[in-house]
Amino acid sequence: MIVKDAVCPFCGCLCDDIEVEVEGNRVVAVTNACELGTTKFMGEKRLKNPILRDGNEWKDITYDDAIRYAADMLLSAERPLLYGWSGTHGEAQCVGVHMAELIHGVIDNTSSVCHGPSILAIQEVGHPGCTLGVVKNRADLVIYWGSNPIDAHPRHLSRYTRYAEGFFLENAFRDRKVIVVDVRKTETANIADEFVQIKPGGDYAVLSALRAIVQGKTDTIPRTVAGVTREQLIRVANLCKSAKFGAVYFGLGLTMTQGKYKNIRNAIELISELNRHTKFTISAMRGHYNVYGSNEVNTWMTGYPFGIDFSRGIAFYNPGETTAVDILARKECDAALIVGSDPAAHFPRKCLEHLAEIPVVQLDPYPNATTAFCNVQIPVAVTGIDAEGTAYRMDGVPIRTRRVLSTDYLSDDEVLARMYALMQEAQRS
């Protein structure tokens, strides 16, 4: 059987043109997907049933017992942390928010360690953006800033920019200029028409300089700014101003370096300034396939995109205080539920030391690094493979993933709904 137009549940590109060949309820071939997506569709080695850590051993337990364990753990906690959410679909994220609200916990998603800083910047100055198709059809200038799509979003270039056909471009490959700005000469830099190499930590200064140059204030700019010559800055500013439609895609090169969200704020302010001259947009290269969805769901349900603390009943938001890394590193939580992410692989060690000290339940199809810190892990269906649900692409376009396999695994939202029901029952009595 071949499933057409399947949706790839790997990165924020959320490519929806994947063909998956299934034989005997196994994926045997994947067409159109990149290497990352293909491997995900072909994934094996799933955990077969829930497991419980008993001293220095792992024991198999039933779903009922595992779900009960999780509900009890969350109900008795004084400051539970519900973290992850980017690797699951919106329906599950909604249950997660209701849970956090019910037990007065903290709910945070992986954007706090990817584009959380971008959100903080947007909250200061807004966000001139667009859907990916607008860029594909119009952009004659694309800038990748601190992002490396060849490694992180392999089809971004072919579906939306460098190699994509565009309605308003006669010969898209020739007529579209690509500028790459980075501290490393990445593979993406190799396919650029212009590469701007910045000294590490210098993005903010370069962005400020570009803003001034776009306004015509070139005199005060030093001869070099963070390793970039004034001549190159002026050339880049002119390329931007003379473009008919420019698009900036930025990545973690801006969010994870000094200044964090101030880098993105500066980039957005540059783009707002450029809109006085021509049309320009800027967008984040979101990582997980549904990390943007977790921001959307959290926002319509709580008012905030991530890092929401319900300890006092009302929603309190303060990234840096109510975000997972800070809470774990400061040992401020006493239980953790992990869904759709693997913090043990992606958080600094100090956070893991606290995870080792508190009860942890994880929902994940596979054994991963976080498994080692779990008291209970509950295997679930993989959204986009054996479960369907809503995911939001990096540009905010919501797409329903398709189910390509049928397995007996419960989906995240089914497991969470059962936990939530137990918790509601306990609170009533």
Partner: protein, 566 residues
């Protein structure tokens, strides 16, 4: 079988011709019936004002841009936070509350049906997801066609039937309710950073004018026999002197429908400006209202501005950019491929600001100068002019000259020479308010036959009971009582259940979403049209098969099938 009897209700139900009659309302299984058994639960209304549930025919509550308004405004969120309590979930926000915040606050004011004013088809799924979390109102979505490539190409080819066919396919695919045109042509031009100046200015590349878009889409709307008319946000919103453009747009509209208007012009306050710039900015509510008074084919809503902080959000991207250049605060913009766009900025309307004061006056003037309340409905274009929680104050302003004068004394002193408001004596009565807040909306939306907006047997039992008796309140003098009365119902009943009582929402509820599915002949089915399919595959970034909104997104689906004349 569940039965409810509302006794001693002082009913104003304009669509049923009832005006202040004390009567009982019998309800069975969510519908109004002739009578119920003795076993029915009884609610005694004690002769309090009872009306069909409120209907908001133009509000922004769900979907991509609304959520982005929340996303970018943590400072707005902390202004209105409540914890989980009883059946109510936690809420946050003032001008763009969370979905639960919207739903509870509307319900407490007696509103039971809401129309989201602008939904981009590509992102429709998002709107429907948020509808699911708006549990206490029935919902429907205006669907944006202002910059639709397929439609502009069909118009250029002079093929109105193809325009209708594309609209039919899209509405059905995205489960939309009606056609919305926001700054027609302007949103496409904005994807190049440009705009159209008025209705005769051609759209870059497509070479069709806003006038042609409006005319063709209005005709297509009638070919499809849609319940609602075209819902138009005119070109040139917010610019001094734009009233001529508004009159020009309205002048394009023939009278094509016997049951309802042919054009719904939204938030007309923003389109009734005189002057050649901000220096001589003034009200042109009179020519607009006079024009509408002579044209039964046009219905408008106020788009009233109230003073204070709010967030503006619209599909009109270029207008938001201009606002950003005035305020230099946060600015978000979101263009949608092949379809439309949107923009968002926060604003503060100040009494001490002359332009803001004039805007405030214009909305009221439109309502007071339009003779028939059926032709000028009460809105703030929530949250653009003000958050909807200001509706009770607007009602009081319309009912009390004394209140208007008291407020007028607090605004910019130069306003007087720029607006006709101080000379207007008219005070609206309870019946007119009922028309402007439910009956008029219902007729304009064309949902009367679906059992909305009235209380005759067979109707959905959506009822609002306000905690005062109309014969004991003099709205002209006691305007504070009017404000308080409309701010919080004694009972809000939705589909036969009491959902809100004295400010508390009592049940979780689940809404129904209304959408249209026009039936078109095989040769007009765009799902099978090779040219349509090819363009879709080449220029959209979502596969055509993944575009339609699946049934899973509508918890309670109310599909309206129509027979298209193609």
């Amino acid at each position: 079988m569940t039965e409810l009897l509302v006794k001693n209700a002082c009913v104003i139900d304009p669509l049923s011709g009832i005006n202040g009659e004390v009567m009982d309302l019998a309800i069975r299984n969510g519908k109004i019936v002739e009578e119920v058994s003795d076993a029915a639960e009884v609610v005694d209304a004690h002769r309090m004002l009872t009306m069909p549930g409120g209907v908001d025919s133009h509000t922004h509550i769900c979907g991509t841009k609304v959520n982005f308004g929340r996303y970018m405004s943590p400072e707005d969120m902390r202004a209105g936070r409540t914890p989980r309590r009883g059946a109510m979930h936690a809420t946050s926000g003032y001008s763009v509350p969370t979905t639960y915040g919207n739903s509870y606050r509307y319900s407490v004011m007696g509103y039971t049906t809401l129309l989201e004013g602008a939904m981009a088809p590509l992102e429709a799924r998002h709107t429907h997801e948020e509808f699911t979390y708006t549990p206490l109102q029935d919902t429907m979505a205006n669907t944006l066609f202002d910059g639709n490539w397929g439609i502009m190409e069909a118009i250029r080819d002079g093929d109105t039937k193809r325009v209708a066919a594309i609209i039919a396919w899209t509405l059905k695919a995205v489960k939309g309710f009606a056609i919305k045109l926001t700054n027609p042509g302007g949103t496409e031009a904005w994807q190049w950073g440009k705009n159209v100046s008025c209705i005769r200015d051609p759209v870059p590349y497509f070479e069709v004018t806003p006038a042609e878009i409006i005319r063709s889409v209005v005709e297509a709307n009638e070919l499809l026999h849609l319940p609602h008319s075209v819902h138009l946000h005119c070109n040139n919103l917010g610019t001094p002197g734009n009233y001529t453009c508004t009159l020009g747009s309205m002048g394009l509209i023939p009278d094509l429908n016997k049951k309802r208007q042919t054009l719904y012009a939204t938030h007309v306050q923003y389109h009734a400006y005189g002057g050649s710039g901000w220096k001589d900015f003034c009200s042109k509510s009179e020519p607009i209202a006079n024009f509408v008074n002579m044209r039964p084919q046009i219905v408008m809503d106020m788009g009233q501005v109230m003073f204070g902080r709010t967030t503006t959000m619209t599909a009109d991207g270029p207008m938001e950019f201009n606002l950003y250049r005035l305020h230099h605060d946060k600015w978000s913009n979101h263009d949608v491929e092949l379809e439309t766009g949107s923009g968002i900025i926060p604003v503060v309307y100040r009494r001490k600001n002359l332009v803001n004061s004039i805007m405030w006056a214009i909305g009221l003037e439109l309502a007071l100068l339009t003779k028939s309340p059926w032709q000028c409905l009460l809105t703030t274009d929530n949250p653009n002019g003000a958050p909807f929680v200001k509706y009770p104050e607007i009602i009081a302003l319309l009912m009390s000259k004394r209140y208007r004068d008291a407020e007028f004394a607090t605004i910019h002193p130069d306003t007087e020479s720029r607006v006709p408001l101080p000379a207007i004596e008219r005070e609206l009565d309870w019946h007119e308010i009922a028309v402007m807040t439910r009956a008029g909306q219902t007729r304009a939306l064309g949902i009367q036959d679906l059992g909305k907006g009235h209380l005759a047997p067979g109707a959905d039992a959506d009822v609002a009971i306000y905690p005062f008796k109309i014969d004991e309140v003099d709205p002209s003098a006691e305007y504070q009582r009017v404000i308080d009365g409309f701010s919080q119902t004694e009972y809000t009943i939705k589909r036969g259940r009491v959902v809100a009582r004295r400010g508390e929402c009592l049940v979780h509820g689940s809404n129904a979403t209304f959408w249209v599915a026009p039936k078109v002949p095989e040769n007009y089915d765009m799902g099978k049209d090779p040219d349509f399919i090819e363009k879709f595959d080449r220029y959209y970034t979502v596969r055509m098969r993944n575009y339609p909104v699946q049934d899973e997104y509508l918890t309670r689906s109310r599909c309206i099938e129509t027979e298209a004349e193609l």
